[in-house]
């Protein structure tokens, strides 16, 4: 049962949420244990932390007191450039590829880049065991979703060309957030131009339960620490329109509906805010500001009316 598993330092990095620089030791071990459970590793959080702290280029160190664990990373433009490179490419890259790109874009020498750009220390970058490439910590892994979908639909082979489309339209995952890594997963077999589900046993009873269990474990982990999961390297492939057009139409309409409703909620909450603003302008006797607000409100009301009409006509069809 090989699954994509974060490296030790990557599991450590995932403990820190964006914006967090330091945490209490107890918080760290608690989150670590949730992360380790999600990764299927039965390890003690405290022992794991002790191990990570001794690794060279560890992303964390002990803070002012033993009770505080803080990130080592210091901001530097090379890290930001590397981050943007991965984000824009939306694909994992090896250190060589990253260095090459930074060489092209900056005046730093190979030596400087190699010395400064220690991605092990930056919490935005993670790696998987048995994979050279660096991933962004914010990417989530689509493997479980893809596997579950293929098993449910009884699909044995998925052409890589159809992958982006399937992820986005059929499974409902944003290709910008998710990454699919069949190479590191025993459940998948990558052949020329296609991903094949490897398990020969009927997917419904056995793996249905397994994936349900997995899903719960993942939900727990998500609740505990929002585990990002890496997604596929083939995501940059072109879409192909093999999919059922009726299903697509319904999906698009649903989404349009949801977006319009979201716009309505937004306008409504703005209306409520305006009430507060009116009171404060009233207290300052600022009649002009109230008049301006009323203009804005009337305009918004018209927009709301228009959207409601559109919604009504959409639902009629």
């Amino acid at each position: 049962m090989r699954r994509p598993t974060y490296t030790i330092t990557s599991i450590m990095k995932k403990v820190f949420r964006p914006g967090e620089r330091s945490l209490s030791r107890s918080e760290v071990t608690e989150r670590l244990e949730a992360g380790l459970r999600a990764a299927g590793l039965a390890e003690d959080g405290e022992a794991f932390l002790a191990k990570v702290l001794t690794i060279p280029n560890s992303p964390v160190r002990i803070g002012r007191t033993e009770a505080i664990i803080e990130l080592v990373h210091q901001p530097h433009q090379l890290f930001d450039l590397a981050y943007r490179y991965l984000r824009d490419a939306h694909a994992p890259k090896t250190m060589e590829q990253i260095s090459l790109e930074l060489r092209r874009r900056t005046n730093f020498s190979w030596n400087q880049i190699a010395r400064i750009l220690i991605l092990e220390k930056d919490p935005r970058f993670v790696r998987y065991e048995a994979d050279e490439r660096w991933f962004l910590a914010e990417w989530k892994l689509a493997n479980d979703h893809v596997y579950e979908y293929l098993a449910r639909m009884g699909v044995k082979v998925l052409p890589l060309r159809a992958l982006v489309h399937t992820l986005e339209q059929e499974i409902g995952l944003s290709p910008r957030e998710y990454i699919f890594l069949p190479e590191l997963d025993d459940r998948f077999q990558v052949e020329s131009g296609a991903v094949r589900i490897r398990s020969a046993e009927p997917p419904v009873p056995a793996s249905g339960a397994a994936s349900a269990a997995e899903a719960t474990a993942e939900d727990e982990a998500a609740a505990a620490m929002e585990p990002p999961q890496p997604t596929g390297s083939q995501l940059s492939l072109e879409d192909d329109c093999v999919m059922n057009t009726t299903a697509e139409k319904i999906n698009v309409q649903k989404e349009v509906d949801a977006l319009l409703r979201q716009a309505l909620t937004l306008l409504e909450s703005r209306n409520q805010e305006m009430g507060q603003e009116v009171v404060s302008h009233f207290q300052q006797s600022d009649m002009q500001a109230i008049a301006a607000l009323m203009k804005e409100k009337q305009h918004n009301d018209q927009v709301v009316l228009g959207i409601k009409q559109v919604l009504a006509s959409l639902n009629q069809q």
Binding site: G275, V279, F282, S285, L293
Partner: protein, 80 residues
């Protein structure tokens, strides 16, 4: 007995004034609530009226407060 008592107890006159000020302040809060509903109903003219009323009340509160603070301290003028 009641008819003999003056309708205003002079020893309480400043408390009475403070009570009036409090009532004015309640009125201001009511006005704020009213303005919100007027705003909902697009009644800009009525909001302007409310604002004039608010300004009048604020003036009055200010004068009353000045009066109280000017005279209350001067114990000599008290009747009791």
């Amino acid at each position: 007995m009641k008819e003999i008592m003056p309708s205003i107890d002079l020893t309480q006159r400043f408390d009475l004034l403070r009570e009036i000020i409090a009532i004015y302040r309640t009125r201001l809060t009511q006005l704020e609530a009213k303005v919100i509903s007027l705003f909902e109903a697009n009644e800009l003219e009525a909001i302007a009226d409310s604002m004039r009323e608010k300004e009048r009340i604020e003036q009055r509160i200010k004068k009353l407060e000045q009066f109280v603070s000017q005279w209350e301290g001067q114990g000599d003028f008290r009747i009791d």
